[in-house]
Amino acid sequence: MTVWKLALREIRHRKFSFLMGVISVATAVACLVGAQTLLRADRVITEQLLTEKQSEIEDAVAAKEEAVKQAGAELEDAMRKHMKGLGFNVLILPIEQSRSELLLNGMTASMPESYVDKLASSKIVSVNHLLPSVSRRVQWPEHNREVILIGTRGEVPILHRGLKKPLLEEVAEGKIVVGYEIHKDLKLKVGDKVTFKEREFTVSALHPERGSTDDVTIWINLGQAQEILGMQNLINAILALECGCTGDRISVIREEIAAILPGTQVVEKYSEALARAEARAKAKESAESSLTREKESGVALLQQEEQARNQLEQQHAGFASVLVPLVLIGSVVTIFLLALMNARQRTEEIGILRAIGFKSKQIILVFLSKAMLIGIAGGLAGIVLGFWFGWSLGGVASNGINWQKLFEADSLTLTIAMAPVLAIVLTGIASWLPALIAARQDPAIVLQSS
């Protein structure tokens, strides 16, 4: 017969009282462990979310960086191709054509149309396509408006290169190609008949808006234009396309053309390739700026997320800091009352034990042994319940967190390790006074009253 056996027998006899004690301790321990688990889960989830977010942002930025890098490489490549393939375009003008006049009133000087044939039959290498043309700002009397008339015979093939697909087709005789502003104003459609300077033409093409002098230009066959303008066998310019040279390109072209056509001058024409390159440069600049914005927005997003998580953690911590002490106090009070009730229930029994020779410390031990058993049972149940509670409420499973991560910090491990000790101390403290009261009972009074 031992104190433990006595305590166990009494527990078996008064199961409800023991169960109430265990529930009370389990509640307190569950609150403590649950709060710690929840707070730890919050921390782990925050770390994980922020790491994931950081990784997402880094991936997005890396992708963006790659895109910008690729755009840069593409741009460089495109520039190289354009410069190599298209090169840039030049205008071959009569030497007497004034540049100021050219810019103010268009082409005013002329040169023989045979120049283009001379150039085409030469061994020229710095230009690829030749387009002779006449061009003049004229009145369209039938519609009482000014237009730029361009006569073109299409591309003149450079003989030593063999036949290539022409970049620009010739405008056939009797056909007219109309710029945007003109066909818009005159409501022209392809196939419409128009009269220009008493000659009838069929509209063969309508140009879309280009935002240049092309919008107020009409194109007809070179021969017909020469006839209208009284410039038979004369042209105003030869447009040389896709000039492909390296180094100081314009001087190379000028040198080569001057050798073939001494009475001409070469003027660099603004190249679409350059425009495209500029557009791409702008695009790259925009992508880089977008990349910077992406980085900034990523950092802001990360901060926002961290702030939100911190706020949630603080809310949980605040709640726990109020709830846990309250439940602990409530539990101590409950255990105290249960132990007191137990001491009262056992008055006669303790009186007898005292009468047959039990010392007061043995009576206290009987009570404290029971308290310890309540503490152990309640503590263990509380750990399981609390961990489950914190696990569920903290969303550990739903966030795909490995439970071992929760124990990486010492705080939770320590709490769980110390919880049974705390539970035993808690029940011990709560049971101490009732045990003392029981131990100090006067057996004579008990025996007399019974």
Binding site: M1, I356, F358, A444
Partner: protein, 229 residues
């Protein structure tokens, strides 16, 4: 002398009255002596028994059990002294309800700091002796009154006390069971122990060697009982 009470008095006081439960009582009981105390209800019999048992300190007088004054000891020493020297048997049995018969019998062993095996051996022997062998694992609620009182007797004898104090041990028993208990008390005295029995039961008095009649807390008559062995 195993029990010696010299001029012992005990008074109970409350706001309304003062009761002299025991007044100037002197009593000696030697080894092997069986003494019965009789008297009407409220005459102080139970108080005298509690004083003799080291459970209730008298207001005046001295108490010696086996030449030692239990009231000069600390409460815990007195408890240990009780466990070793005195056995109690009560009318209400006062068995611990959640312990089996065997465990109830073994309980005083804990108080006397005996070894477990020794306690168990003695307890088993007592269950045999009191005819409780087949009831040793039963809780008191499952026993008859006679069995309960026999269990209480066995418990009182576990630590082999020198003095047995019995307060109306036959009060709740039928004739047969009462006779068994009284025979056991007589046997205890015959084996060298001292018995102080408080009772109303004339049959019980017949088993005693000496009878004392208590009246208003005082010894009215003290005489040898004719039926005593």
């Amino acid at each position: 002398m195993l029990l010696q009470l010299d001029s012992v008095s005990k008074t109970y006081k409350d706001a309304h009255s003062t009761v002299h439960a025991v007044e100037d009582v002197s009593l000696q009981i030697s080894e092997g002596e069986f003494v019965a105390v009789q008297g009407p209800s409220g005459c102080g019999k139970s108080t005298l028994l509690l004083i003799a048992g080291g459970l209730l300190k008298p207001d005046a007088g001295t108490v010696k059990v086996d030449d030692q004054d239990p009231y000069s000891m600390t409460p815990d020493s007195r408890a240990e002294f009780r466990a070793q020297k005195i056995g109690f048997v009560f009318q209400q049995f006062h068995l611990v309800p959640y312990l089996s018969v065997l465990e109830n019998i073994m309980a005083p062993g804990m108080a006397a700091n005996c070894t477990s095996s020794e306690i168990r051996e003695r307890a088993l022997h007592l269950t045999e002796r009191f005819g409780l062998a087949d009831r040793r694992h039963h809780v008191p609620a499952k026993l008859s009154s006679g069995e309960r009182q026999r269990a209480a007797m066995a418990r009182a004898l576990l630590n082999q006390p020198k003095l047995l104090l019995a307060d109306e041990p036959t009060g709740n028993l039928d004739h047969e069971n009462a006779e068994t208990v009284l025979n056991d008390l007589s046997e205890f005295a015959a084996n060298g122990g001292a018995v102080l029995l408080v009772t109303h039961d004339e049959r019980a008095v017949a088993h005693a060697q000496r009878g004392i009649i208590l009246q208003d807390g005082k010894i009215a008559t003290a005489s040898a009982v004719s039926g005593a062995e």
